[in-house]
Amino acid sequence: MTVSDIVKSFGLKIRAGKNRLDQEVRGGYTGDLLSDVIAHSRKGSIWVTIQTHPNIVAVATMKELAGIILTGGREPDSETLRKAEEEEMPILVSSLFAFELTGKLYQMGISGMG
C-alpha cells in the first residue's frame, strides 16, 4: 500500500510532498509527543498526529517515515509546510480524529508495532 492509496481511501487533503505519495507504507504510528514518536516509530510508517509545529517534519525525516497525517482538520504551520516541501515529506490533513483514522488505517491492513 502506498501513501497515495491512503489519500484516495480517506479523501485526505494534500498539503505538502505531493511528489512522494508513491512511497510504500510499512506500518503506522499514532502520537503527539514527539519524543515518544522518535523513540518508537519505525521507518516507512505513516504517522498520525495533531502536532503542527515544524519539528514534526524533522522527526519524520529523521525516522524516514512515509508521511504525516494531521487529524481533526488541523492545518500545518506555514514554516512546517516550507520545511516539508524542502524535505519532500508528505503532509496530509484528515477531518477525522486520531482514533477513527487510526482504526480505519488498521482495518485497511496497516499494522502498528506487531
Binding site: D32, L33, L34, S35, V37, I38, Q51, H53, P54, N55, A58, V59, D77
Partner: protein, 246 residues
Amino acid sequence: MLKTYRADLHIHSCLSPCGDEGMRPRALVNQAKAMGLDMIAICDHNSAENTAAFISAGDARGLKVLPGMEVTSKEEIHLIALFDAQESCAALQNLIYQNLPGENVEEVFGPQTVVNERDEAVGVNRRMLIGATLLPFEQIVSVIHSLDGVAIASHIDRQAFSLVGQLGFIPEGIPLDGLEISPRTSKEEAKSRFHPYQHYSFVWFSDAHYLEDIGKSTTPFLLEETTSKEVKMALHGKEGRRVMEA
C-alpha cells in the same frame, strides 16, 4: 557592585489550580526568607493576577519578588516569563486571556484563588488556567521579548509539558534566554543529557506548588541588582553578570 543572589524564579501560588491553598503571600515570602533566598518569582499557569499581592508582601519583608507567569503554548509546552514591570506582565496576560479557551472545573483541577497581600482570598479566577493557549511556542517567546521579559523553557528534562518532550528536540534559532532543569535532574546529568543545548544557560528552580518545596532547587546569579533585566544579562553572560555554579 556585582553580588551573588540566590534565586528561585519558578514558584506557583494558590492561583494555579495545582498550587496548594497555603501558597499565599505572607506565608510564601516567610518561607522563602527562611530558606535564605534573595529573589523569587511568582509564575502561575497562564495568569498573573496574584503577582501584585506577592510583590507587596515581599516589599514589606525585604524579599525581591518578580512578576511572572508560566505560559502553556498550543503545543502544550510550558514557558516561564519573567518581568520587571507589572504592566508588561499584565500585557502578556491580556494576550493569553484572549487565547485561552475553557472554564475551570474546580472539583477536577483545583481552586484558583486570587489573594491580597494579607493572605486573604479576594476572588476566584474562572478561566481554565491549566489549559493550553492557542498561541504557538515561538510566538510567545517573541511576545515576551517585545515586552522586555525573560523567556525560559520550563523543566526541559521532564516528559510532560516540556519543550524537549513535546517537540522531541529544541528547534534551532529560538531566542530563548535559558533552559530550566527540574530538581529531579542533577547538574552532571543535565550537562551530559543536554550537551547539544549548552549554548543556552541552564537554571534550576523549584517549581514549588507547596510551601515546603520553596527553595528546594535554586540558582545563584552574579548580578548588580535583583531585576529580571539583570537576570537576562546573566543568562547571556553579559557585562560580568553570570549564572554561578551552585
